[in-house]
């Protein structure tokens, strides 16, 4: 089933069949989409017995790109609407990078529907309001370059189709939607709120990650949190540390989702 309609929008969905617990994958921002999980964790998690669900968030990948509705609250509402459309009630969430903000807020809003969280290089936990200044600055610079240097057209004209298309998607999101403004307004998940999160959390961060502080806050404040640090890695652990993530993730899912078959499948 490649597409579902939720909140009036068309979402691109991929599912890898399994009889076990439902595991939903939440990708990162702008140039990311469901393919980063499709080629790394989704198939091994499904092969181990879980039911993997992946979708492209609004504006990303092959989902519809409306001009508005990119707040964290909208993204959380999109998640539950997609799950409603698919008929999934209680799920585990696996999130990468900014997907972590969506996962944390979803678990805080609907703990009855989120059984556990695996957060890979997740943004979100922070103690101060201007928590994502670096991320916003990076995106703002990209937005200007894409608009004034016509990066996408230049790449496409020079025959670099893949990069050109990625740049065109980034341009459309950063310069053609409210995503930047909506992101700027996003609040961090503060320590007092983390302390109230009564769901098991597996936090996975690279040793040299620029968001490692978020991992330390999760470990310090979430009552039931395990932190795994990947030695020698930075932010891109999903692609570069896939095997090591699976060694940690599959036993963790097996334990918390009460699906023992998952534990033996780590490779």
């Amino acid at each position: 089933m490649p597409d579902v309609t939720a909140r009036g929008l068309r979402f691109h969905v991929q599912e890898c069949e399994g009889d076990g617990p439902v595991v939903v994958f939440l990708h990162g921002l702008v140039i990311d989409n469901l393919s980063s999980f499709y080629y790394t964790l989704a198939a091994p998690v499904a092969a181990a017995g879980a039911h993997s669900v992946l979708y492209d968030m609004r504006g990303h990948g092959r989902s519809e790109r409306p001009a508005t509705g990119y707040s964290v609250q909208d993204s959380v509402a999109d998640l539950f609407a997609v799950l409603d459309a698919l008929g999934h009630d209680r799920v585990h969430l696996v999130a990468n990078s900014f997907g972590g903000v969506i996962a944390l807020n979803a678990a805080l809003l609907r703990p009855d529907r989120v059984a556990g969280l695996a957060l890979i290089e997740a943004h979100g936990p922070a103690e101060r309001s201007f928590w994502h200044e670096d991320l916003l600055n990076t995106l703002a610079k990209s937005a200007l370059l894409l608009e004034y240097e016509r990066t996408a057209d230049q790449l496409l004209d020079s025959g670099q189709r893949r990069l050109g298309r990625i740049a065109a998607t980034a341009d459309a999101l950063l310069n053609g939607t409210t995503l930047m403004d909506d992101l700027a307004a996003a609040e961090p998940v503060r320590p007092a709120v983390l302390a109230a999160l009564d769901r098991p959390v597996l936090a996975i961060y690279g040793q040299h990650s620029d968001v490692a502080d978020a991992g330390r806050l999760l470990l310090r404040h979430v009552p039931n949190c395990t932190l795994h640090t990947l030695t020698g890695h930075a932010h891109t652990v999903l692609q570069e540390g896939t095997a090591e993530i699976l060694e940690v993730l599959l036993p963790w899912l097996a334990h918390h989702a009460a699906a023992p078959a998952l534990a033996g499948a780590a490779r």
């Binding site: 991929q14 469901l34 393919s35 080629y39 790394t40 092959r62 670099q160 189709r161 893949r162 298309r165």
Partner: protein, 92 residues
Amino acid sequence: MNDVMSEVVQMLTEVVGEDFLLDVEVGPETSFSDDLALESIEFVALVDRLRAHYGDRVDFPAFIAGLDLDQIMNLTVGDVVEHITAREEAHA
């Protein structure tokens, strides 16, 4: 061009759009990454169409799961056609 080959090319056209494919002559040696410059999300969409068309007996998710991302992107159109043909013969 054999039947499976022309079906795969048809599905590719649906995924990437006709304009682009007019510039590239697709044959068994054509690679998804270097020659077609497919985005990884477009390959996901192609696999989806292959799955819908040939059914579970071709088992693309398992075929893909056995490869890493570099291997997947280095696949040629011929590799995919060969996989389909072999699986179809196994079930014939």
